[in-house]
Amino acid sequence: MIGFTHFASSRLHGKKSKRIVFLCLMLFFSIQFLDALAVQRFPKPEFESGYVQPETMQPAARAEMLQIADVIVLVIMLSVISWLVVKKRSRLGVFAASVVSLAYFGFYRQGCICSIGAIQNVTLALFNSSYPAPLAVIGFFILPLIFTLFFGRTFCAGVCPFGAIQDLVAFKPQKLGTRLNAVLGLIPYIYLGLAILYAATGSDFIICRYDPFVGIFRFNASFAMFIFAGTLLVSGIFIARPYCRFLCPYGVLLNWISRFSWKHITITPSTCIQCRLCEDSCPYDAIDLPVTGTNPESRGTTIRKLILISLLVPFFTVLGGWTLSTVHETLASVNGKVRLAKTLVEPASSVNQTETIEVTAFKSSGKPVAQVYAEASRVLKQFYTGSWILGCFLGLVFGITLAYRMVTKYQKDYLPNKGTCLSCTRCVDYCPVRMGDDNLPAI
């Protein structure tokens, strides 16, 4: 009996609670509905004067077809310039093509998208699976590299708008000497390494941020960037193409690949007659002079050099990695999350200081502070690993550069250095030998 009443009451109770739940749900949904209406604090009036509400204009983004056209223009320009360099050997043709590229990729497309910056998109896509790189960007990254593998750095000769604008001002190029060239030639490696580190961690695109010529192409830049671009162009009168040789990170990749190029430009069309006319023709110090050992090194010296190199290179590699890993926190402060976490840790000490916009924005977003700290520490960890790798890489590059300076490379002709030659074809005009002039006597 007791059991039954209990059961009945519980059933009753169940019905009641169901109804209450239902009412609550109704109330909840109606509040939701009211809330949706409440967006309009001031509902749209009903006009009596026959006023027609204008449409909100949404101008479309640049048409996709035009982006495909960019890639097509790139392929055409690369093909034309490769033909002009390798087959026609025409300086005038290369010059004309470079002006066309400057006009299209520089002033019409305003320097975006460019192959140099595309390094970062590709890196980000490799390290961050949620970032989809557009096809055109991948094309801009890969295509010049493939052309370089076959024809040398023809991309630099006249497709890259940055190279083209600097080539126009190279009036009085001076020789820098092999040592200075070797030392300054290390800068692009640092730039490339940092760009990849920052792109891989999703911190920043530093190549685009410190792009000197985009401001010129757009007639619009910050004062500092104008000064930077102006300095490069003015110094470019005497030091030909300073950006390409001593800064360009894409140039590093092109340099490596060009060393294995299939049909690289040659100074002479048939046989070098050692006339020395081309010796001073290269504005980029990219002609390797003949080195013929009259008295080759002794065996002992060679062995000692080899031992030294095999000790120095690993030493510099480890030293570089260790050095950069000690400053990884400084490197990481470029990252926005790390910076925010730092300012959130600090404020207790600086009460009188006004809150930064970042902190205000963060507080209004309602995210927990712990999440920011977790994200920042994750980024810091990435930077620690990254700075070790970057440091090792830079140390290795330094060691190899030094080793390269130690060994003597014997060659008997004047040859373009396949790595640093920009295929501008200036030297070609200096060579008195014509196609088919075989069996010429040496002077």
């Binding site: 749209k44 479309a60 991948i138 009259t294």
Partner: protein, 242 residues
Amino acid sequence: MKARGAIRTFPAAIAIIRTIANCLKQTSSASAKQVRINPLQKMEEPENNHKINRRKFLGAGVRASVLLGLGGVAALVLKQSVAGNLVWQLDPAKCVQCGRCATSCVLTPSAVKCVHVYAMCGYCDLCGGYFKPETKTLTTAAENQLCPTSALKRKFIEDPFFEYTVDEPLCIGCGKCVKGCGAFGNGSLQLQVRHNRCVNCNQCSIARNCPADAYSRVPASKPYLLRQVGDEKNLTAKTPRR
């Protein structure tokens, strides 16, 4: 023992230093010296031909492997690529109207403009986006206007209602009106990247400076993130929580 070790290592160190110095001297002198020889003399030796063949073979091998490597990188990246372009856009729901859109853009004036979603507008006489908070008379006098460039235009329609339009060439994208409209009105004024002006930098310089992380790459086929009537979630996210 220690002393003997030091004695032994000391000459070795000197030898190493001397070698470095010699090497540097040699390379610089070798590159400076031009010793001319007859190029035709050595070409006839059969041994040289072998060398050239070997070099050619190695070159082809390296070239093939570089091509393979490039293909690998391309394939990895292509796997997650998109056919269309991506453009930058800011999410008005995240925007805090800090004013950096006006100053951080590579263009002057900025490619970010105030956009009026008319469907959300209340056509108020006392418009929080148009008038400064302390305004006494609701006239179009310059001192009453919140907009520093007078880019927001006010037009009478019928008795208590006024239409507000944005004169885009004048607008600098400072977001003052957006803040006013969001605080007192419906939030119909919103900042957006205008794609007829934006040059679509690889890395948007405003995105880097945005304190609210409101910028993202969106598909070019759907390039606007305007809030519409009924997006109540967005408004609650927008109201500052202290």
